[in-house]
Amino acid sequence: MKPAPFDYMRPRDTSEAIAALAQGGGEAKLIAGGQSLGPMLNLRLARPKLLIDISGLEALRTMDEESEAWRLGAAVTHARIEDRRHDFRGCPLLPTVARDIAFRSVRNRGTVGGSMAHADPAADWPLALAALGATLLLQGPGGDRQIPADDFMAAAFTTALRDDEMIAAVRVPKFSPSARFGYFKFCRKVGEFPEASGAAVFDPETRIARVFVGALSGAPASLPGLARDVAERGSPAVTAEAVLAAVTAAAPTLSIIEQRMHAETVRRALRQILPT
């Protein structure tokens, strides 16, 4: 269980990284924390000719508060979010999600951008950032572009990222002080990927309401009808039947047992945002 041979480079800046990616023609791969890519290299499931290690690039490691959003560099580790180096005003869900990702040793190295680029359907950031309505900032040889987090993941381990593009940052919008956030995942054991997960955001001031179900066979799925009902009617909208119907419509290929399990995680996420 040792990787096949590869070349390794540490670029000086993002433009050098992008140039190396472009030159690699699909056979180069970025590595930051290596918490997913490392095992795939060892299992020889990933066999890049070149590894471009961007974990040291300062430009990717900053967390900045903007007027309307938090901008997280792609190579910011889960641990730095968990440790609340900032107050994450308007975005309290970020450290809440970060502190339950895998184990501390994984969080010390794993990065937000790496998690999004790897696109494991059961991972936390694809679900949480989709629910928060975050935007990914991508850089490539043709320039920069932005893509909403909930459009980024196309399928399991498949994203909108082109071979020569990299995630530079994630921009997470701030919510009003009265906004409420719900996040629930069901893991068979501490630190494992969840069997099912659900996330919900409701901001009474802006009337933004978003509900997502995660740990599906592909990308997390939005449940817009359920979100609308929750915003309009509150707790009475969150019946077991209504949530199950929404999950079933969004993920019709799941078995009935899986649908019930996913519906229950969504329901528990919703309970966190609704008065009991």
């Binding site: 269980m1 040792k2 501490v190």
Partner: protein
């Protein structure tokens, strides 16, 4: 046993100093000059004819297939049980592959990565055959055979009957159940690991291997290599967990030893985690069809059982594919007093790695099967499960007790032990809370399980299983060092059992030497007397007994020298706490050691020429085993929506006879419980219909971690065995036996009124929710519209 550091002492483990500082010394820590790394190309298919293996040009001496291994014999495990069919496991595949992961070729390079690169260059051509993945299907379809010279797919079928018809006749209560356990791994932190080199000075092949049984591996390697045993030295340094995975001869040991013998330089192989999860999926998979016959109070009258062990492709050396079905037949009746028993026990060959004895050997399965029956009977007759269990347990007044499977239970109070567990878990309080219901909607369940466990069983038991190596006497050697300390040499191996401490404690009990001055030496055939090794919860009884007797042999020799030093008659002195006490004066063991080693002019003229060293063989007075036993009790909360099971409390009342070190006993028990929880709730090595393993990384194979193992509260009883030194019994395996039974009983206690009864390991959320779904649809069908 009044000594602080002797038998019964709460003493910190001597070996933990190096372990906790990360200074243990394992095979993979060894780097020898010029050492090459070895990798194996493993079969990607479960069953097929091996048409060809093509090596790239110029790979001589770096890539090896079966044909290259001149002079290396296959692993053949004879078993004298009538009708047993032998299998032959070649060190590298020959003609046929029989499981995914079977080694096809071996590659050698300066680094492991380069060795794996070489393996990728080998082209293989295999004609695939249908895979036999299910043991019961294997029995039904003899058209496809794992071993073509057999006439079916059964390694062995055992039939046992004792008073069944007479006892079952007229039973008021008849309960039928099916119980299944998944295949799983043992997952020691350290997998297989072996380094071998040729030592010209000793004229010996030196094999460092991570094994529980160095002396037995020497026998096995000598046979495989065609070498006299004197030309082989097997060393087992620190071992990162054995659990049974390392009590057998491994084909990788053969291959690496052959390389070193052939090329006369060092070679090393370290099993990685993926290999372990594929090749090491070797344990626990049993299937039970049970019918219990009881009276209207739930008193068990007779038991009828059919047991199928999914044996995998090859029989192991030396324990064979006959061990598991044999242990299952003998242990199924458990700690209970009943007189009618009929059991058919089979071991089927399947296209999976060959079955190995895992901590608890068959008993984790039989305990789950029988304890589910006890609870099912209790529900059938409408009584508390612990009460029915209690009424059926062998009573203290019946000890020693010969049970329906002709096991001889030596001592103990099984019923009191169960009552202790009941009181410690506080059953009444939990029952009240269960009736009230939980505010979060979860359901509370309380479970019990009792078992007894044959430990340190000797020749009379193992000879009946027909094994090629049978344990009899264990040897120990005790030597007084010139400074008045002691070196204790034993042929068993300590790899987590704490025997560097407990064997020192038993020596301290006799000789009174401080534990810091007693060095326990083990794990080296060149430095220790013979033992078949560490397995079957035998070492503290067997090696401990030998150490005690060796120490006792030294006492009169020390007294004689001491008496002479004090110029008094030997008969007037006595040995006490490291001192030789005479009528007027006393001297010390240290003075005696000094005289023996440095001032022989002071020794008595008729001095015992055995000197200050003694090697003694030992076995208990009765060698059919000393039986430890325990009752576990647990409370769970079951989340009906998500299928999650939380363990709210877990208690154990246990009796392993006289405890040498209660902290070591508890450590052994806790480690076992963690593994038992893995069997119950998490661990599973599933296969698809083509025999492809579906859990080959730790992302798919779940092991319980710190978050999943509850605080376990342990109570002890100490009923000394009448047969062993100090009444000590073995305790290495017990913890791993009862957790599945107790947790399944607890979950079933929570859910039975919903029509749910779980009986298949592991108890995953999906299995639980599927069972609830089935119960729901059954209810929907039977309710009037």
């Amino acid at each position: 046993m009044g000594r602080e550091d002797g038998v019964g002492g709460h003493v910190l483990r001597k070996e933990d100093d190096r372990f906790l500082r990360g200074r243990g010394s394992y095979v993979s820590d060894m780097v020898l000059p010029g050492q090459s790394e070895v990798a194996f190309l493993r079969s990607p298919v479960a069953h097929g004819y091996l048409r060809s293996i093509r090596k790239p040009a110029g790979s001589d001496g770096t890539i090896f297939t079966y044909e290259d291994l001149t002079g290396l014999n296959s692993i053949v495990s004879e078993c004298a049980v009538p009708g047993f069919k032998m299998s032959e496991l070649p060190p590298l595949a020959r003609g046929k592959v029989r499981f995914v992961g079977e080694a096809l070729a071996m590659t050698v390079a300066p680094t492991r990565a380069a060795a794996e690169d070489l393996a990728e260059q080998v082209e293989i051509d295999i004609d695939e055959l249908p895979a036999i993945v299910d043991a019961r299907a294997s029995r039904a379809t003899p058209a496809v055979r794992v071993h073509e010279d057999w006439d079916d797919n059964l390694f062995v079928t055992l039939n046992y009957e004792n008073g069944f018809e007479a006892q079952a006749r007229g039973a008021k209560v008849v309960v039928k159940r099916t119980v299944s356990l998944a295949r799983q791994t043992m997952s020691p932190l350290e997998g297989k690991a072996v380094v071998a080199y040729w030592d010209d000075r000793a004229d010996q092949l030196i094999v460092y291997t991570s094994t529980q049984v160095p002396h037995m591996i020497r026998i096995g390697l000598a046979e495989a290599l065609g070498l006299d045993e004197g030309r082989l030295r097997v060393v087992s340094p620190d071992v990162g967990g054995g659990f049974g995975y390392k009590c057998v001869l491994q084909p990788e040991e053969l291959c690496v030893a052959w390389l070193a013998l052939t090329y006369r330089r060092p070679f090393r192989y370290i099993e990685d985690r993926r290999e372990h999860l594929v090749v090491g999926a070797v344990a626990r998979q049993h299937h039970y069809e049970l019918t219990a016959y009881a009276d209207e109070t739930g008193r068990l009258l007779a038991l009828d059982a059919e047991i199928m062990v999914d044996g995998g492709a090859y029989s192991s050396w030396p324990f064979t594919a006959g061990l598991e079905p044999g242990q299952a037949v003998g242990n199924l009746p458990g700690p209970y007093d009943f007189r009618g028993y009929r059991c058919k026990s089979m071991c089927a060959a399947t296209n999976k790695p060959g079955f190995l004895p895992y901590r608890g050997v068959a008993r984790t399965g039989v305990c789950l099967a029988l304890e589910l029956m006890i609870d099912a009977i209790a529900r059938e007759v409408g009584r508390e499960p612990w009460e029915v269990r209690h009424d059926n347990l062998v009573a203290q007044a019946q000890m020693p007790y010969d049970n329906v499977a002709r096991k001889h239970y030596d001592s103990g109070d099984y019923q009191k032990c169960l009552r202790m567990a009941r009181d410690k878990i506080d059953l009444d309080t939990w029952r009240a809370r269960q009736r009230r219901g939980e505010p979060d909607g979860r359901r509370i369940g309380i479970g019990f399980a009792s078992f007894c466990e044959q430990t340190a069983h000797g020749a009379s038991v193992l000879a009946s299983w027909g094994l090629p190596v049978i344990p009899g006497y264990d040897e120990a050697s005790v030597r007084i060092t010139p400074d008045g300390g002691a070196e204790v040499r034993v042929g068993v191996h300590s790899h987590g059992q704490g025997m560097e401490t407990t064997l020192a404690q038993v020596a301290n009990e006799i000789l009174g030497i401080g534990l810091d001055k007693i060095r326990v030496i083990h794990g080296d055939t060149g430095a220790t007397p013979f033992s078949t090794g560490t397995y079957a919860s035998r070492s503290i009884v067997m090696a401990g007994g030998a150490v005690i007797n060796a120490c006792r042999l030294l006492v009169p020799r020390v007294e004689a020298i001491g008496a002479h030093l004090m110029q008094c008659a030997t008969a007037t002195v006595r040995y006490e706490d490291g001192r030789i006490v005479g009528p007027q004066s006393s001297t010390t063991l240290k003075e005696v050691a000094y005289a023996w080693h440095r001032r022989p002019d002071r020794l008595p003229p008729d001095c015992d020429l055995g000197g200050l060293e003694a090697t003694v063989s030992y076995k208990p007075k009765v060698d059919t085993g000393v039986f430890s036993y325990a009752s576990h009790a647990a409370v769970v909360a079951v989340d009906l929506e998500l299928g999650h099971i939380e363990i709210l409390d877990y208690v154990i009342a246990e009796d392993c006879g006289t405890m040498v070190n209660p902290m070591v006993v508890e450590g052994q028990t806790l480690g076992g419980v963690a593994q038992g929880i893995g069997t119950a709730l998490y661990e599973e090595s599933p296969y698809d219909e083509n025999g492809q393993p579906l859990a080959s990384t730790l992302a798919d194979y779940l092991l319980p971690g710190a978050g999943e193992v509850p605080s376990v509260r342990i109570e002890h009883l100490q009923t000394p065995s009448p047969y062993s030194e100090f009444g000590i019994k073995g305790v290495g395996e017990g913890g791993a036996i009862a957790p599945p039974a107790v947790l399944f009983n607890a979950v079933n206690d929570a859910l039975h009124d919903l029509g749910v009864e779980m009986s298949e390991t592991p108890l995953t959320p999906h299995r639980l929710l599927a069972a609830l779904e089935r119960a729901r649809s059954r209810t929907a069908r039977t309710e009037p519209a």
